[in-house]
């Protein structure tokens, strides 16, 4: 990979060990993936986790004097204030990890956005053709597919290194030739928002990591929530960083106009029956529930208002902890508008900066819960909690009744 004189100097450590370490990782990636050079990125998202491996790397960068050069947001870990709410039995190590995470964000100059929908609310800042380095697996599909900006499915470390240097190796989805569809997926029904998540689960199981599906049969652009869940679930059951929606997303419209859509595509068709079977299977765990998990990925403002509306004058069963994880941006807005208080009175906890897969929800482990997210189901399972997966309106009914019937 070609490096400019300036980039060589960074690599040799003339600007300190932190920058040198970040550059070293980018050079290694560039060599493995045959990049010709480094290209500037406009923005980055560090998919931090509060886990040690990732944190140790970030701390080494920070101690070496590195700071991010482009606007960089982060994934959630968990809000330390919640210790007072849930009173989980945490060990010192778990508490130390979250404190170290906050500290290192400060040192690196990262925006402590702590949200896994980093594109929500800033969509107008990302333009068609922009190069970015994003590492929350559910977001690259949205950026590549819906906006037509370009990012690889970065690791937490490679996104952070790109943020520090302000550049990324030029390979993968940064190149035109790797963004063409190779599989055609015919959807023979009109999916609702919840169905899009299920469609993601279904296709994730069928596609290979390098496949770029072209989805046909959709009549209108799906909602943000539907696209968020489609991208997220594709990357729980599989690995897909980009797709096209026929007639709807910018790159396929352009390719079509220019007559550049490849003609020999593999074909998959998805029938409503297959998605219905999957839905039935995922909600089959019946009985009393102790919790509801929404917000994996983080819930939007509109979704939270919907929960408030669906509840009406009713309250959540006293046996159920109803948790909605969201960004601090949405949280603050709900507080200001009084919706937060209304929900609190009905038994719903809106939580900011936090991921459902964190130790702070320890007390809920070991019993059945409900969710509208397959991703939440998948991760909570690793923490010894089964969740029944169902659409938002059914989640609310289960919460009121205190059981999944």
């Amino acid at each position: 990979m070609y490096l400019t004189n300036e980039e060589e100097k960074i690599l040799k450590g003339e600007y300190g060990p932190g920058l040198a370490l970040a550059m070293e990782l980018l050079v290694k990636l560039g060599e493995v993936f045959d990049a010709d050079r480094l290209i500037p990125v406009k923005m980055a998202h560090w998919g931090l986790s509060g886990q040690e491996g990732d944190l140790a790397f970030a701390e080494e960068l920070a101690e070496g004097g590195a700071k991010v050069r482009v606007s960089t947001t982060t994934n959630p870990a968990w809000d330390y204030e919640l210790v007072n709410v849930f009173k989980p039995e945490l060990n010192e190590h778990e508490i130390e990890l979250v404190k170290r995470t906050y500290d290192v964000c400060e040192k690196l100059g990262v925006t402590k956005s702590f949200s896994c929908i980093p594109i929500y609310g800033i969509e107008e800042r990302v333009k068609y053709g922009d190069h970015l380095a994003f590492s929350e697996s559910s977001t690259p599909p949205y950026i590549n597919s819906i906006i037509g900006a370009r990012t690889n499915r970065e690791s937490s470390a490679s996104a952070l290194a790109a943020a520090i240097i302000g550049k990324t190796p030029n390979y993968g989805l940064h190149l035109d030739e790797n963004r063409l569809p190779n599989v055609e997926v015919e959807v023979d029904f009109e999916p609702d928002d919840f169905d899009f998540g299920m469609l993601g689960v279904y296709l994730g199981n069928l596609l290979s990591p390098k496949d770029i599906p072209l989805i046909k049969g959709l009549k209108r652009m799906p909602s943000f929530e539907a696209l968020r869940d489609f991208g997220a679930m594709l990357n729980v059951s599989g690995t897909t960083a980009m797709y096209h929606l026929y007639g709807l997303t910018p790159e396929i419209v352009k390719l079509e106009k220019e007559g550049r859509v490849p003609d020999k595509l593999q074909r998959i068709s998805v029938e409503k029956k297959e998605i219905d079977e999957l839905k039935e299977k995922l909600r089959q765990k019946r009985g009393p529930i102790n919790s509801v998990f929404m917000g994996c990925p983080h819930s939007t403002y509109a979704e939270i208002l919907k929960v408030n509306e669906l509840l009406g004058n009713r309250k959540v069963s006293k046996n159920v902890s109803f948790i909605i994880c969201t960004s601090s941006y949405i949280y603050d807005r709900l507080k200001k508008e009084g919706v937060y208080d209304q929900l609190e009175k009905k038994g719903v906890s809106v939580i900011k900066d936090t991921c459902v897969d964190e130790p702070v929800f320890k007390k809920l482990e070991g019993m059945l819960g409900a969710t509208n997210s397959y991703k939440a189901y998948y991760y909570r399972q690793r923490r010894n909690q089964e969740l029944a997966v169902m659409p938002l309106k059914d989640v609310v009914e289960a919460a009121v009744k205190g059981r999944n019937d």
Partner: protein, 136 residues
């Protein structure tokens, strides 16, 4: 029989180990850091200890971060594999071996990958970008 295999490398260290071959992608997050035993249900390597071995697999898997922590925990517990060999690399596995400085070889052909299935020993020469394969 001794054979040389061209490869790409990341960590700047020579290494050698006995081959542990996996048909399926390995997620190091699902290895016990205290024993190096693979604990993932239904995985072909379930129950196998990977400390000091040359772990050969088709690709990595898992989210943008767990693979990194998995390998890091093995490394901190002195239970890391001697070499990780991945046929098709992805940014996550490259970042993981970089952070834990575990010797790594990648971008080998399907044919060479299939050969390693027979087991034996691997030696990685990072400067030469070569794997030296000694079959059983």
């Amino acid at each position: 029989m001794i054979e040389k295999i061209r490869c790409k490398v990341v960590s700047e260290r020579d290494a050698e180990g006995e081959i542990v071959f996996s048909e399926a992608p390995v997620n190091f997050y699902l290895a016990d850091p205290k024993t190096s035993e693979i604990i993932e249900e239904n995985h072909p390597l379930k129950g196998v200890r990977i400390k000091g071995k040359a772990v050969v697999m088709p690709s990595g898997k898992g989210s943008a971060v767990v693979q990194i922590d998995g390998l890091y925990q093995l490394y901190m517990n002195d239970n890391a594999p001697a070499i990780v060999v991945v046929k098709d690399p992805d940014p996550v596995i490259v970042s993981a071996v970089f952070i834990s400085r575990v010797p790594f070889a990648t971008s080998i052909s399907n044919e060479q990958f299939e050969k390693l299935k027979k087991g034996g020993k691997l030696r990685l020469l990072y400067k030469e970008k070569e794997l030296i394969y000694e079959g059983p």
